[in-house]
């Protein structure tokens, strides 16, 4: 392996590295193998908060001895003032449920613009704990809720109250004290529209920045509450959590099918995210043609070692994910050995293009994407400007003047992957997506078995493309020389799919290349793709329909804002303690 890798890592003749093709990038199994990167929303938010030294105080910290009550944090960001309100409630452990259909939680929270007066606090107290059953107003940017970890919260409070630091292995096994189960923004339940956030609040004018910030402050609160409870239990003995351990405590997250339709219904946004990530990778790979320094090789080797350790520390009951983690660890170990070799002699003129190509030819898709993430990490100066280009207006446009014949050719070129699917087979339409009457939760049904196919959500894009294509061919045969406008007047029910195909055909990466109504589809890959752009880590699939993960584990603390910051908290590993 060493020789084959070395031989393939010689610079090729091409000076320009093309972006990876859509046929590679937009496969669902690859999208479901992505990891967070410098462009992920948590990473960019943390960079911003630390660099701009956001000031966070708690003008209201009104908790009783059980930790129940309310807390208001005030945030002075660079461009504005915001308030984060937390309501802490008693929750019968029997009622603790991470599903979206739950109606009671340990914590409910709201991120609001400006400061909060007593009237607004009262209004929020009446509505925020109800979540979907309440109503808020346009002063609210994000609404969220969270549940305590049954395994860690009480344990940590107990240890702290007895003057001891929690055992790092117990923390590592879970990774958090609270788990958030939803963070709503973008105008839901009466909140501020995304356009208002985007135009009025520059501090959060990036996709999901306000939602990520809410989860970050939840993390901050979770540790403050644990310390508060410990001090109430035993004021004499109680200690605070050591800083390194605090940084290692994240926020848990459970994500289910509710997130999946978002990716299908926002194809332009997903294309934009992918395109920026791929642009970052292409820039980095191209840069390496000019030479790679020993320092860069060392940095990559160090990162690889950390990822190996990180993967080894992930605990998951999911057999498939566990095997993948092992496999990726083994392949990264080979990469580390090779990097050590290269470090001793840089005259081989290695390039990242050869490395990524070797990985694509020989290694697991998840190893490939870990490597891509790590390469992007090496060159912040080539990448970080792209974080301002992660948003795009989700608007579809019909090109009515295009001839039907040209449109058919365009589909054959851009949607060839959809045309190869045989929809006459039952399994190709083996499942359908629908909205349940329970909080409109998206669910999957089995075709011919479950009720609801008459109310199917139109997420089977490949099948709709195929249907449209067949109709176009028939129309063109009967009416040669006509344009799309005429086709739609005659076939008005195809208006939507025509607009989507024409719009996405103009984008770089286009639609996700998967039949999303196939009986064996893995929706978890959709969830993981979006979560990777959020910036989560430690994916722990609980089924093919939902996944647990950890947010902000390893991230700086509020007390770190304004201090020197190396931005290397990705792939967190257990801190070493002298007392362990």
């Amino acid at each position: 392996m060493q020789n084959s890798l070395s031989n393939s890592l010689v610079i090729g003749e091409n000076n320009i590295l093309p972006m990876r093709p859509a046929s590679t990038v937009m496969q669902l199994d690859r999208l479901g193998s992505l990891h967070q990167s410098r462009l992920s929303f948590m990473r960019t938010l943390v960079r911003r908060m630390v660099a701009e030294n956001w000031q966070i105080s708690a003008p209201v910290f009104d908790l009783d001895e059980q930790g129940f009550g309310k807390v208001v944090y005030q945030i002075q960001a660079r461009y504005g003032v915001f308030s984060f309100v937390v309501f802490s409630h008693y929750l019968d452990p029997e009622c603790r449920n991470d599903r979206v259909i739950a109606d009671k939680w340990d914590l409910t929270m709201a991120l609001c613009e400006g400061t909060i007066d007593s009237d607004q606090l009262s209004f929020l107290q009446n509505n925020v704990p109800k979540q979907e059953a309440g109503r808020v107003d346009s002063r609210v940017l994000v609404l969220s809720r969270a549940n305590r970890s049954a395994r860690t919260f009480e344990y940590v409070v107990d240890e702290l109250s007895n003057g001891r630091q929690p055992n790092i292995d117990v923390i590592a096994e879970v990774g958090y004290l609270y788990r958030t189960t939803a963070a709503y923004g973008s105008g839901k339940l009466g909140m501020a529209d995304w356009e208002k956030v985007w135009t009025k609040h520059r501090d959060f004018a990036r996709p999901f920045a306000a939602e990520m910030f809410t989860c970050y402050l939840l993390r901050h609160f979770s540790m403050k509450q644990a310390e508060f409870l410990a001090s109430k239990r035993d004021p004499q003995s109680a200690v605070e959590i050591e800083e390194d351990l605090k940084r290692y405590i994240g926020i848990g997250n459970s994500t289910g099918l509710g997130m999946a339709p978002f990716l299908i219904n926002h194809p332009l946004l997903i294309n934009q995210w992918i395109e920026m990530r791929e642009t970052a990778l292409a820039r980095v790979v191209k840069q390496s043609e000019l030479g790679i320094t020993a320092g860069i090789v060392d940095q990559l080797a160090e990162s690889v070692s950390r990822v190996i350790k990180h993967l080894g520390e992930i605990i998951t009951e999911d057999e498939r994910q566990s095997q993948v983690n092992t496999k990726v660890g083994e392949e990264l170990h080979m990469l580390r050995l090779w990097l050590v070799d290269q470090r001793s002699d840089l005259s081989n003129h290695v390039s990242w293009e050869a490395l990524t190509q070797f990985a694509e030819d020989n290694w697991h898709v998840e190893t490939q994407e870990v490597i891509n993430t790590l390469l992007i990490e090496l060159y912040p100066e080539l990448v970080d400007d792209l974080e301002e280009r992660m948003w795009v207006d989700e608007s579809y446009e019909i090109a009515p003047e295009m001839s039907v014949a040209d449109f058919i050719v365009s589909i054959e070129s851009k949607y060839d992957w959809a045309l190869t699917i045989d929809f006459s087979k039952h399994e190709a339409s083996g499942i359908f997506w629908y909205r349940s009457e329970e909080k409109m939760e998206p669910r999957l049904g089995h075709t011919g078995v479950d009720n609801g196919i008459d109310k199917e959500m139109p997420l089977g894009i490949a099948r709709r493309v195929r249907d449209c294509y067949d109709q176009l061919c028939q129309y063109d045969n009967d009416n040669p020389g006509k344009n799309i406008a005429h086709f739609i007047v005659k076939n008005p029910t195809y208006n939507g799919i025509v607009a989507r195909i024409q719009t996405m055909s103009q984008s770089f990466y286009g639609d996700i290349r998967e039949n999303l109504v196939h009986k064996d589809v893995l929706p978890i890959n959709l969830l993981r793709c979006k979560l990777s752009f959020f910036g989560v880590s430690k994916f722990d699939p609980r089924s093919r329909l939902w996944v647990r993960n950890t947010m902000f584990q390893g991230a700086p603390l509020v007390d770190d804002f304004g201090k020197p910051f190396s931005d290397n908290w990705h792939f967190p590993i257990k801190p070493a303690f002298s007392g362990d």
Partner: protein, 243 residues
């Protein structure tokens, strides 16, 4: 009560889906209603009268009944602009790209004010539009230049013959091109009123800052329609979400 634009759009899409609209059509229809309401054109009042019609019949689409080079006649067969406005605008702007202005008459159609949003959106693609229709005893005229974000909306004394339920739309590379090519069809009486740009902008900004005021009865009506696209929850269906 107040709702955000996002949740209003989401609710309208599902409501129109429940009424039999196809994907694409329900996106466009929701956008038309929201645009009117957020720019001061009483979109909700117009929606209420439309829902009464749409709730009694399946979707009816317009037919192309006449085509003569750059001029078209579509028969709406009594349907709403919510269902045929997009097709009408796309049909004429497809012809403009061939170098000349184009005109279209949409007969037997209702809720014509909703066409405003489609014209504004198409203007962003570099087209100019003039549209007019008869409203009671006066004439509504819309003009919008390429790339403009707001339309020029005015009412005029009625001049000439115009079917009570028809809508005329003209599209070109510029307003001057349209006015030159269709001078004979663009004669209007004295202006009665004009809807200022500043009023539209103020309405829009207020809706963004404070939310959109909606009558609870209408919101409940939309909720009832939305419920039609939801599927009953059972233990088995919960398993289809991860249980």
């Amino acid at each position: 009560m107040k709702v955000s634009r996002n949740e209003l759009t989401a609710s309208l899409k599902k409501a129109f889906e429940a009424l039999g609209f196809e994907p694409g059509d329900y996106y466009d229809a929701a956008d038309m209603v929201v645009w009117l309401e957020t720019h001061g054109f009483y979109g909700f009042d117009r929606l209420l009268s439309t829902l009464a019609y749409l709730n009694t019949t399946g979707p009816v689409y317009a037919d192309l009944i006449q085509e003569d080079k750059h001029n078209f006649v579509l028969d709406g067969k009594g349907t709403s602009i919510l269902l045929c406005g997009s097709e009408a605008v796309d049909l004429i702007r497809a012809e403009v790209t061939k170098g000349k202005s184009a005109g279209l008459e949409l007969i037997n159609c209702y809720n014509r004010t909703f066409i405003l949003q489609r014209l504004v959106k198409a203007a962003q693609r570099g087209f100019a539009f003039i549209a007019y229709w008869r409203q009671l005893e006066y004439c509504v005229k819309i003009k919008i230049s390429p790339d403009e974000l707001l339309p020029n909306y005015s009412t005029h004394e009625f001049a000439g013959k115009l079917d009570p339920q028809s809508l005329k739309i003209f599209c070109g590379a510029s307003l001057a091109n349209i006015e030159q090519q269709y001078a004979g069809e663009l004669e209007f009486g004295d202006q009665i009123d004009h809807f200022s740009y500043s009023r539209m902008e103020e309405c829009y900004q207020a809706s963004l800052e404070f939310g959109i005021e909606i009558d609870e009865a209408l919101w409940s009506m939309l909720d009832e329609l939305v419920a039609r696209v939801l599927v009953e929850s059972t233990d088995r269906s919960r398993a289809g979400a991860g249980d």
